[in-house]
Amino acid sequence: MKTLAVLSGKGGTGKTTVANALIRLAGAKAYADCDVETPNLHLLSGAPPLREVFDYHGMDKAFIDDSLCTRCGLCEKHCRFHAVKREKRVYLIDSAACEGCGVCEYVCPADAITMRPSKDGEVCLHQNKDTFVTARLRPGAATSGLLVTDVKERLETRTKEPMAILDGPAGIGCPVIATLARVAMALLVAEPSVSGIGDLKRMAATAQGFGIPLAIIVNKHDMNASRTREIRRYANEEGLFFAGMIPYDKRVVEALDKGGSILDVPGKTSRAVRKVGGTVLREFDKETKMDESTTKKHGPQRKEG
């Protein structure tokens, strides 16, 4: 399966809005929301009905059996995540801080500590003629990258579609790196502001580190014309594909609040989105054909935590 990931670095630039439009324009039958901490794609119309919900288990968590504990304190001494707390004479695990490394279990001379599976969220499979996978991470859980990997694997095993579109999370950390794994191309949605440009560059550096081809679009380009030009120049200098621009339009917020799409906003906005979307999808076709002929360019192959 060839995948296109929509990312941005900075939050709120319009990843979900653009991903939803691309899914419609491409007639994509397979897509996923990789923003597992704050997913939104399921709120927009056209999401297939919920079929199945799977429990997601992240890393195991330590558990101390107080009846076996000899109060030696070795677990507290060796835990580098400050996850072992002592309350009066009882040792307890702070499960929000526990990363599940298993060091405390190893050092405990009384075998009082066991590592137990912990439910860190859910993966939701929506399906009719389309296959859509989304997820919910338990707030505060530390394994969002693993959950992203789980979402992508479910999508790949539940459909034989040749192409898929992924709506990505903000930032550049583990959930983004897990989203980038093995994608054929990433589309970066940029915002014309000093913050937007700073974040775009960090996002591009992260994706380039994995050798992933990039395309850039500017959303809300008329908010700041000179910063939009700066993004264009940056794309040129870096040899990144510049696919076009989308204007700011108050009516987009109203359409999305009703569960609609940016494509439902009549006039110049939806025209711009159609044009930019077409350009992105043609570039994606080119990249995936090149990819087949050279069989190189893979993202990180290992599972990311």
């Binding site: 941005s8 901490e37 704050t38 709120l43 490394c101 707030p139 969002s144 930032g171 950390g173």
Partner: protein, 278 residues
Amino acid sequence: MNIAVLSGKGGAGKTFVAVNLTMVVPHALYVDADVEEPDGRFFFPADNLEAKDVTVGVPVVDPHLCTGCRKCVDFCRFHALSFINGAVRTFPKLCHACGGCMLVCPEGAITECRKPVGRIRAGRYFDHRLLFGELIPGEQTGVPVIEELLADIGEVEHAIIDCPPGAGCPVTACVQATDYCLVVMEPTRFGVHDFIATERLLKTLGKPYGVILNKSTSASTPGGQYCIDNALPVLARIPYDPAIASIHSEGKLVVEENEAQGHNFIDLRERLQKEVGR
């Protein structure tokens, strides 16, 4: 008072609120803890920044001492070590620096070296101390940078902490060190949905919180309605205004450029002091 400025949704206006709020709280420390995408530095033209690296320990295997027993490989739950062609190979990007491999190695063949994952820059702007945290692109987690940024936060009189988006471990790391959380909500349907994830996190951690409604495009929004329905304290409202967006997009401080917003942020400070004092 230590205030975490956060929001589940990205682009809601965390940095906007945090940098402008800092300016109206005398001597407040500003901390940019959104280490994946740090933008606070664009708003404070501070030079002479002092920089230091943030490092984590990663394993180094001495091939002369290693007997190939694979105990380290079997122990590591993060798959940061593997046994390939008769030797242990390490994957520092997957390492959580738990130290387990060194403990289990019977030959003492594993030691730890320090690897930089980010840096912290310190500076000043008028009477404000500034701390900017930054993750190196390609690194998995900014939590070590956040922990170092906030290590001494308890000793600071007033601190404003600019947090990352989402509701995962980097946010938890920020919020744990603070007295009060100021949640910036974009009052759209997406904004409300992500606010609920933040709320669940804050309830789990037992932190008090209030709301700022930012970028309201009309009087009745899904976000405004959510706050009424749930009786949430709304400490400030900022309308969507292209003039504000344009000042902020150029890296300028709105409280210095727009009088009405200057007053708005001073009112916010007063409301916050009352809320934190409760």
